[in-house]
Amino acid sequence: MAIDVSKIIHAVMEGSKLRESKGIIPLFGVYLSLFSVNYYNRLSFDFEAKMGKAREAEAQALLIEAAQECGYATFQGIRNSWEWDQVVAPMIENKEDQILGFVAVAVAFGWGDLEVEQLVPKEKLVIRASDSYEARGYLEQHGLAQSEKCYMLRGVTGAFMDLIYGDDYPEGLYAFSAAETCCRAKGDTCCEFIARKSPYRPNA
């Protein structure tokens, strides 16, 4: 059975309208919040700016690591959730289908029009987006960028591979790392993320 993206999106949209008495949205095993993409973009891009040119690479690495660690914990929670069992698990026939399920959830979360372009088991994952909120936000707020700007999606792409082909949770974090090979913020036609086995592991 193929992964039915629209069914997953529907489940997330309906679930995100339910909250418990404390104003918290517990959905797919995590606590969800809904907030303007402008907030996240301002945090990332102003953080980068405040770190200055000399610490630009460090700022980018921190943002990517924050997203990869988040993606790793988040999607571990998601794939162990009741909602995953009910909605997504029946569509999954093999390990690789899990990544398609993860991507469908990411689309449902409003992160962009992500599509899996290529998946080589245990080796490589290529995800493309023609409209990520990070690239769109950078273009709107700052104009054309000199470098790639989708730090969150870059970290999350690595996390997807960590969860499927890394060591058992929680030991598999940073087994893979992703590069953003083109980005709409730079004027490219799409954003492309390629995850491969990490040459090094930040926390090892």
Binding site: M13, Y31, S33, F35, S36, Y39, A66, T74, F109
Partner: protein, 174 residues
């Protein structure tokens, strides 16, 4: 309040999710707390300021947009009600505007996404940590009273991240 139908306001157009036409993203506590910790650990007070300002500015513009759109919501009471409803429906928690005047306010939050997320990931901390909510409150009151950004300063005097029983916020003119 029947004017503002929350369930109709949250919708999507293709891959984009929006509240009343404004693009939003769903993120979980792992990401929100990771961002906060990264900014605090790396930039210290400047990182705290960035969290506060970003929430303030974003919420200010979001509420301005909503008040323009729902122009029947005019009174202070109805605007505060809408703001706290928005906070709750965005999964950010519960917020009670207890005493609100044009030059000062007293606000209490018995639960929040950031508190729940911080305690789940890092446990108790020694300092108040609801920088997002402080900024959110500042932006809300500036939009409600039609003041410029930065008009109010919001301090958190008690915080559940420090294991106080609730988060307490005091607002004054800057």
């Amino acid at each position: 309040m029947t004017i503002f139908d929350w369930r109709k306001e949250l919708n999507r157009e293709g891959h984009k999710v929006a509240i009343s036409g404004q693009a939003i993203a769903m993120h979980c506590h792992h990401y929100n707390i990771n961002l906060q910790k990264t900014l605090e650990d790396t930039l210290g007070e400047k990182g705290v300021e960035l969290l506060y300002r970003s929430a303030e500015e974003t919420n200010y513009h979001s509420l301005q947009h909503l008040f323009d759109h729902y122009n029947k919501i005019r009174t202070l009471k109805s605007k505060l009600e809408m703001a706290s409803m928005l906070y709750q429906n965005c999964g950010l928690g519960i917020i009670h505007f207890q005493k609100v005047r044009p030059n000062k306010a007293y606000i209490v939050s018995p639960s929040s996404h950031h508190v729940t997320g911080w305690l789940a990931k890092h446990g108790r901390r020694d300092t108040a940590g609801c920088h997002f909510t402080r900024g959110w409150i500042a932006g809300a009151l500036e939009a409600i009273y039609e003041r410029p950004l930065g008009f109010y300063v919001v301090d958190e005097t008690r915080c559940k991240m420090q294991r106080d029983d609730q988060c307490v916020f005091h607002v004054e003119e800057r």
